[in-house]
């Protein structure tokens, strides 16, 4: 009986560890992509990604599934870490640095990517964050809404506006 209780007690943290491990494996690249898309600085993105996972790991036992999705919870922590980094720098994320994996513009598609990158730089940080959450991190509208603290429909509307603005910026550049 006592052994069963001990096993039960030990099983709880093990569940949290397993859940976190799964979350880490499924979200590592997505978190990095979101942070890098927001900060536009690969070195800072690595630092912030590591910090975000570190914080999430410390708080893993406090995660309550009734209050939201694990990915939204993780991206909320990553968002705070990224915004702290932006505050620390005392400046907003800039598009001065190129994404590390952007291919060189040797053909038409490369030229388009350059235009797209420049157009992203013209967006307001809030709009760029939405683009990063949706297309870099792969979050659904519901998860985005949970991360930025608005309703799902509001998140969808904001996202649509951001995409429209991005397209207009690209068209203007062409």
């Amino acid at each position: 009986m006592e052994q069963a209780l001990v096993a039960e007690r030990e099983a709880a943290p093990r569940d949290a560890d397993l859940l976190f491990e799964r979350l880490y494996r499924s979200s590592r690249d997505d978190v990095y992509a979101y942070v890098a898309g927001l900060l536009r600085d690969p070195a800072a993105a690595e630092e912030v990604t590591a910090t975000a996972f570190e914080r999430a790991y410390r708080k893993r036992s406090r995660f309550d599934p009734r209050r939201g999705e694990p990915r939204a919870w993780l991206f909320g922590i990553a968002r705070n870490a990224a915004l702290d980094e932006l505050r620390r720098r005392g400046r907003q994320a800039e598009l001065s640095a190129e994404p590390a994996d952007v291919a060189a513009p040797q053909e038409e598609s490369g030229e388009r990517r350059l235009i797209l990158t420049a157009a992203l730089a013209t967006l307001a940080p809030r709009e760029r964050e939405l683009i990063a959450l949706k297309y870099f991190a792969g979050l659904g509208n519901a998860e985005i809404a949970e991360v930025i603290g608005v309703s799902e429909s509001n998140a969808g509307t904001r996202l649509h506006r951001a995409v429209t603005k991005l397209r207009e910026a690209c068209d203007g550049a062409v």
Partner: protein
């Protein structure tokens, strides 16, 4: 170059732009994840870093339990310190044994020996004090000896001493023996020529059986009577006291003689009075002096009765609920438990009074920081 034809084309390009972590970073992060994300610090590891890390890793529930246990231990410790510090209660009926005391009531001396001698010089005051002193003596406490006792030469040189004696005795009896013991007390009183002034006997299954007596015993038979009482049952407490009332007795006697002489003189004046007016004046003085004489005689009689009879307070206590011969039983345990709980509640109350404002301030500070941080992060997005 052609512009994007639609949003899908734009989104496809966006997806292609998605940043990916470098293999080196990914490998490093995986290693840290496998190691449980050890803290990175720009400072050298501190002495208590492992302990702090272990505390941080504890689940909140376990921290709450530990904090509650620590608070409980603190309350218990402070309660023990407070109780041991002197605010405890007596748990027993008092020490067994005999206490004897004696005193001398001098002229114009207040009865309580602890008080400084009063400056009054009238005999009436001294007599009144002697009379009021009976109340103290009859409580069963032995009177303390006064520091200074001014005594008239006539009282100091008196060949006969008038001493008032008093005593109290507490007997312990089994609940079923209370009635029998009370009857034996009455027998002993009568056998020694005493009088039962007041008695009260509680018997039966409900409540605590017991009895109390207020007795008058001839002073010459007091020792015999006390010995008889002591044979009835276990003596839990015995007090005896004495008070020398020679001075007020002698003083009153002298004043009584003076009053008698004054009355004799007034009677002579009355016989010699020639006019009606003179006779009326003398008669008025005579009436006043006779009243004074009667009052003095009454006081003297009272003092003499106090010297001739001793007041004895006798109480029979049952041992109901007692678990030990010392008398400390369930009632005392309940009383002490209540006391301990009340002290503990007081400690908790004081602790809350100190901690609650601090906790409130901490909560306000935490909320303010949280709001400020949220706004600062919001501003970081522009």
């Amino acid at each position: 170059m052609e512009p994007f034809r639609d949003d899908n084309e734009l989104i496809a390009e966006l997806l292609a732009l998605r940043p990916s972590p470098s293999p080196t970073f990914a490998a490093t992060l995986d290693e840290r994840a496998a190691a449980g994300f050890p803290r990175r610090s720009p400072f050298p590891p501190q002495r208590f870093a492992p302990l702090v890390a272990k505390l941080r890793a504890l689940p909140p529930r376990r921290i709450a339990f530990s904090a509650a246990a620590a608070a409980l231990v603190s309350v218990a410790f402070v309660t023990a310190v407070v109780i041991a510090g002197g605010s405890g209660t007596e748990t027993g009926p008092g020490p067994r044994g005999n206490t004897r005391g004696s005193g001398v009531l001098g002229d114009f001396q207040p009865i309580e020996g602890a008080k400084p001698p009063a400056a009054k010089s009238e005999a009436d005051a001294g007599t009144a004090s002697a009379e009021s002193g009976r109340e103290t003596l009859f409580e069963g406490e032995a009177p303390a000896i006064p520091d200074e006792l001014p005594t008239k030469p006539s009282a100091a040189n008196a060949s006969h001493r008038d001493v008032e004696r008093s005593a109290s005795i507490v007997l312990g009896a089994e609940p079923g023996d209370v009635s029998a013991d009370a009857a034996r007390v009455s027998e002993a009183v009568h056998a020694n020529g005493g009088i039962v002034l007041r008695s009260s006997i509680s018997d039966g299954s409900a409540g605590h059986p017991g009895a109390s007596f207020q007795l008058l015993i001839p002073s010459t038979r007091l020792d015999d009577a006390m010995a008889s009482f002591a044979q009835i049952d276990e003596v839990r407490l015995r007090n005896e006291g004495s008070l020398d009332i020679t001075a007020p007795t002698v003083s009153l006697g002298e004043r009584l003689k003076e009053s008698e002489a004054r009355i004799e003189a007034l009677l002579g004046q009355l016989a010699a009075a020639e006019t009606e007016a003179e006779r009326e004046v003398v008669e008025a003085e005579l009436r006043g002096e006779r009243r004074h004489h009667a009052a003095l005689r009454s006081r003297l009689t009272t003092l003499q009765r106090r010297a001739h009879f001793s007041h004895v307070s006798l109480r029979i206590e049952s041992r109901a609920g007692s678990t030990t011969p010392g008398g400390w039983g369930l009632d005392n345990a309940l009383h002490d438990a209540g006391h301990v709980l009340s002290v503990a509640a007081g400690v908790v109350l004081i602790g809350l009074a100190v901690l609650a404002p601090l906790a409130l301030l901490a909560l306000i500070a935490w909320l303010a920081r949280r709001i400020w941080l949220r706004q600062a992060r919001d501003r970081a997005l522009g």
